[in-house]
Amino acid sequence: MSYSPSGGAASERQSRYPAWAFYGVLFGILGALSILAWGPIGVSGTYPRFIGEILELVAPSYAGSNEYIQKVGHLFSKGETFVVIGLLVGGFLGARLNREKAPACEMIHPSEKTPARRYRDAFIGGFLIVFGARIAGGCTSGHIISGITQLSVSGFIFAAGVFATGIFTAKTLKGRHQATGA
């Protein structure tokens, strides 16, 4: 099927195929093409590489002696860094071309009654996902999407861990609030 990702065509198409199905197939093809072009898609390694570049500037001797910074390598030597730059542009285009305006601050748990509480959760969440991803050696992209696509055992184990605590945490943050009646 041919279409241009502009407003009208997109909404017409999505009435026939749910977005998750249409883009799921496209993302699967994209992942395979990426393995053909240079390697599997990944994201989370970019965070410590970014830290490495900053430390090279402000504390070069520490950066030179830090085992992990040496292990992850330089920011612009990896294709992954450009994937992350692309994600920023892709998110912008997805919203803009379909004339969508994302909320600046989306409340997701009953306890998030003020933007400050939401930002606190977003910060803690951001900290834990990157810290956890680096323990495991990958995130949703590298371990789950690319890992399981390649049938890597590590991808299945990581996914099991993520959904075990992810489901428990999300349900608890909703349920506990209802139980207290607040």
């Binding site: 998750w20 395979a32 692309g86 892709g90 748990h109 949703t140 890597s152 075990a164």
Partner: protein, 179 residues
Amino acid sequence: MTPLYATLVGIAMGFFIQRVRASSPGMIVRNLRLENLSVIKFMALTMAVGMILVYTLSLFVPSLLHWDIKPTYVLGVLLGGLVFGVGFGVGGYCPGTSVVGMGEGRKDAMVAVLGGIVGAFVFTVVYSVLIAPLVKVMDFGKITLADLTHQSPFVVALVVGVLFLIVIKLLPTEVQKSR
């Protein structure tokens, strides 16, 4: 060529993530509460299509594929996943979707990315002492399901891929609330 390809792949990936609303932390949390399964089905479909395609290609043009199987150090991978899951449930973002959300103009996504940068900094500081010993425990190396089952990788990909497709077909997208 890698930077150009990778940027284009990132743009397409960011666009897809935005279109299926995976960059909405509210949508992620609804999926984790198992109230709506659209993002989980999107991910499963991506993997099913990807694995069948890649392992089909491996039958015809094996030398053209750039595999990168991550090592299975069971304890670290599982522990990392468990920590990640808590962050996923609390914040509603993953390392990639927060960047997509930033592109959409979400300020909480920007805060999540900032949290991720701080998390990466703390990680690099504690790596040698806390993490490096951990990743050596139960390290089985770069193994796949095909290695584990001693079957043809293509057959395993086909079986797992079709299984995923069946589960996707059976699962509802909007889950009826029983309460």
